[in-house]
Symmetry: D2
Subunit: 382 residues, 4 copies
């Protein structure tokens, strides 16, 4: 039987959820819900995405929909995901799971109780070389990890005329850069190392404290000035550096920023072990750097023939035929639907697949960062 | 109305045709034909690809199929494509268009006469930065082109136990490396520069003159030894360098090889103009190097905000979110179906879309290379 | 008149001081002093470095010596430099200026009072593209700096059998990695930005807490095991991350480590301004990355024709002819001797030349880092 | 005893000869000869290079001069080198050895008969990783070589207002780009592989057929327009591609050009063997890429601890402390003086040191290229 999918929140990222789902070949796109029947129907046509619904309640009531993709703005995540779970739908939610740590826990508990699949799109896990790094570390190939570091740097908020609802605490949550992209890095660091962040010390900063905001809120990733702008004071951070401690004794550090010219989506993760180092860059995702002390460094290409079996399943093309963002996203969605097809039993969850448990976990980490900064830069346990 | 697609030849590349078609969202995968009903049905199930047909004749007779993807081995291209055109189907054929230049012309003429869409998958055209390079050159941004050079290097035939039907002139055509991958480079060079290769001087070589061949012919991209191998003399080239002359006065050079350790799918194209240079690598497809004489060189990222309008339509993600092989392939297939949806009128063909005209053109170029080499390395007009 | 130079402390780095001095063409290498007349004479012969002295006192008493290079181990810096100043010699000292902040101040004050040239070899300032970055920032080319970050990573202490006197607080000072290489990074960050670090928050760690130490102390940069080793507890840090605040409002972060496999001498500095970013790597010193938000990033090669006049004087070869570590070192030494030739007047000091003032300043910064860590990771003013 | 060196031809490159010689520490710079006593004296002062001579005859007559560096323009190489040999001086000559193949043979034979050291500055041999590549290939680490390819690309002649005496056949020889820089590549290819080029097929082109020439001939590497220019027809090539055959059965290809925007001094050499590949770039000289078919590729850093003993002697700094052009040049000069110190016996010649034999050999290769092109692009034996 083909599973039916419905999507709530047809913004920028919705098209990529649809794209990933279509590539599976065994999922039916049933329809989408937005702010009105009219707009949803129009968008459904644009995206070849089935029918439009008047609102998400109507979508949830449709028995043809088995899986709900929640791509609403952050402040609606909780409401829509909870309603979907109550309606007996499997849920694939964009990150962050919810606007606060408390809501994240509520969602995680609701999902666990519901015996339904619950997925959060920490999509960078879907890169084959991310899984390769995880497999190598898990098998002791780099020795005990001693340092975990990196960054997630962007520049799309450089211009003070750029604005996004993510900067409004009411819509995007208390944190901006950390919640939006730092969260991805933290999930990746924990997933790849298999270790947990136990304490953080955060230094947050708002480089652009006043922005010109258009009358109607701009979409993400557009920096165009519109007529009728107004100045708005910004309180969320657009730059942050956080010191980290992990439960395996490793130290760490990550810098997150969205106002750093020239960096587009520059997520980097490096793990230094006692025997070797691994480094991976999202913008060059087909290469894994392997650093050695007393022999030449290596560059492992995403070559299925050279990958660990745990990573090989995420690679679809021969070496040298690069895979990228959409392929990694598809891998996460494929894992989700494979889990659902098999009954969504907790024990059968694909190891790489991020769930509401990870989403909740992530909110604890980001929350600790905010607390650390609020305390003036003190170590804060997670 | 949804167009229906059928596929003939369910090998390695078939899955990627299906993937590209599915991402369009408005095409129905009707079914596939292979060597038997049983194998086709089995493969159709594996690939979520509709029904299986007993043979390609049955597929062509199905009125639900509007577009035929021809992914058969090279020596069957002509037969299947011709039959499809006669059956009134639009045809999307893998390259090379046919086994010989004469067959290629026959196909091109048949397609032109049929008033049907005819497409050859020179898929590297689908990369946004390839279109960017084409647009920049077309608009004079680098001045008159003076040198066009590059390579297409692989290593999967390095091991003498690796074998593929492409090395058998009866199945793969007279040329191996040039026909298989050199053809891609030549198409790209002409497409990007807007100039035509007018003469070639080729130096071909067979680095591995004897291979261990399994009883049953190995699939492409596998180098595993099988029981019951036998030695086979190889006459097709696995390494070639070709000097080029273009109709705009530019000189050129390309090296093609499949036995060069460490190179996976290393296609590089550089065009030097009087004002600037452009260089692009398929393995790092999100970067276009722009070389200058008296100012700093630039690295143009695949950033939709910075692309020429002609290239922007081929980019689907914000800067820093890399796109890759499958995304480029999808772009070519999307252009093909857009053309078909609009009636497949010659004048409406998307500029970037490669057709049987290009496939025929390409066979002329490769044929001239073989002639040049056969003559002992003399300049051969195309 | 040719200036005469004498060198005290003929270890690893001595050869590079001699090399730099020789390249000037107008300095006479008079001789060297070590631990005995015999060893100094032997080493002088090996290095073609004039005569050997019985001890540094004898060298300082030689009127043919005008400039003293102090390349002794850290714990002897103060004693030798002070004696040289008292003997009326110009002093070029390796960093750190002295073992403690108090000694550093003493030296700085002594040098200032003596009306002699006083130089500390923060040699990375001598790279042409470091001067280019400084010039660009000084002229406002990147707008106000908002973030200054980077690292200085090595791996030569990865092996627990590696040992150096730098790890012994009595010989190397309280700090190891920070004092040894972090100091270089801090000097560079302040020099390039023209801003001062006003506060630090440091997290130090000793990854390898026990080392096998040879009976006789190993030289730097050798990790060979020797007969007759013994275990020694290590208290100095071999890994550190420090958060920074600058007097222009910029934030910063630096990681320093000497146990990170694959990193050889990986000093990186990036400065993000409101208009553009600059990034430089010591291991690829002929390239300066210029990041932009709304136009393509650039890679500025060390091309004399494209450099700021302030940087051009430090470039000696045409573009594409790489310059490197020894050339940068020579530039610092050349500035020092040019200053000395001109009378060593304070106002005539070449801007790029690091003096005892910078050495003292640097000791304040490193000292604040140690205090911050000792306090459990609190912000510490410099 | 200190050897005395004298230099004839105090242009751009002279300063680098002096620099290399000074770094040896045991050579005395005696003086230089140019076009007049006045100019030589002035230049000697500028360069701290001893005394000026009225002409090269006077320099050769000075018994204090043991070694003559011939850095005159190409058309004077023969005359000066022959006179130096006749005067009993060891000779270090810039390449090309002479203006024609016949003259090159004459010089080679004169040098051999004279029992004096004879060196040609194919300086790229002096890079440690070039010697590493040579050692690895010699020891069979990459298996039999099958393809040798690369380029030497520059852009300093891009502007039609750039001019150099190298473009005038009477002063620079019949060939421009090939003789000037292609010669370096050919020497390197033969030296690194230990194989000889046996046949060539060359395609030469003059991209800029007319140049604006200043009244007084411009120095190399300056492209400034001067008052009173005149148009001059250019017949020498500024772009060339050459197919190669080696005596070990390997094929090859090299492109040489000086009008390709963005390429500064872009010499690249790659050797593909049956077991592995090696690739080296002059602009990133501290990295050697090692390509593998069935395991990850490596990047060997110039790390003395990892180098072959034959290469280690050419590395002077620890890994990560980059060495570059001047260091490689010094290595060649150091080998030359070590040979001379030891009596310049033919059997004692350092293996890496290029001699007049290599210079003559090189002229044969370039001459064959010119002949091949003149014949319309036919294979020409060397």
């Amino acid at each position: 039987m083909k599973l039916g999918m419905g999507l709530v929140g047809p913004g920028f990222i919705a098209a990529h959820h649809l794209d990933a789902v279509r590539r599976l070949g065994n999922v039916e796109v049933v329809g989408i819900a937005g702010s009105s029947l009219e707009s949803a129907t129009k968008r459904a046509r644009e995206l070849n995405a089935g029918r439009g619904y008047a609102d998400y309640h109507e979508l949830l009531a449709d028995p043809a929909v088995h899986v709900v993709h929640n791509t609403t703005p952050n402040h609606l995540h909780r409401e829509v995901s909870l309603a979907a779970l109550r309606a007996g739908k499997h849920v694939i939610s964009d990150k962050p799971l919810a606007a606060t740590m408390e809501e994240a826990r509520e969602l995680y508990e609701a999902a666990r109780a519901a015996n339904l699949a619950h997925v959060v799109t920490f999509n960078y896990r879907g890169y084959p070389l991310v899984q390769q790094a995880r497999a190598m570390i898990g098998k002791g190939k780099i020795g005990p990890a001693v340092f975990v570091h990196g960054c997630y740097l962007q520049d799309w908020l450089t211009d003070e005329r750029a604005y996004t609802w993510r900067l409004d605490p009411k819509l995007g949550g208390a944190s901006s850069a950390l919640g939006d992209i730092g969260s991805h890095w933290c999930d990746l660091a924990e997933h790849v190392t298999g270790a947990r962040i136990t304490a953080v010390l955060a230094d947050l900063h708002t480089v652009v404290p006043v922005r010109e905001v258009p009358a109607t809120s701009a979409k993400a990733f557009t920096g165009k000035a519109t007529k009728g702008t107004q100045k708005r004071k910004i309180t969320s951070e657009d730059l942050a550096t956080v010191l980290l401690r992990f439960d395996n004794g490793a130290r760490g550090c990550v810098t997150v920023g969205q106002v750093l010219p020239g960096h587009k989506n520059d997520l980097r993760l490096e793990v230094n072990g006692r025997e070797a180092s691994l480094a991976w860059r999202q913008e060059q995702p087909n290469e894994l750097w392997i650093g050695h002390h007393a022999k030449p460094n290596k560059v492992l290409t995403r070559d299925p023939a050279l990958l660990d079996p745990a990573a090989r399943a995420y690679a679809h093309l021969p070496a040298g035929h690069p895979e990228a963002w959409a392929d990694a996203f598809r891998n996460v969605i494929a894992d989700a639907y494979a889990w659902i097809q098999g009954g969504a039993k907790p024990k059968a969850k694909p190891i790489a697949l991020p769930t509401f448990a990870d989403g909740y976990r992530n909110s604890l980490v980001v929350d600790a960062m905010l607390k650390s900064h609020a305390a003036g830069g003190l170590w804060q346990p997670v």
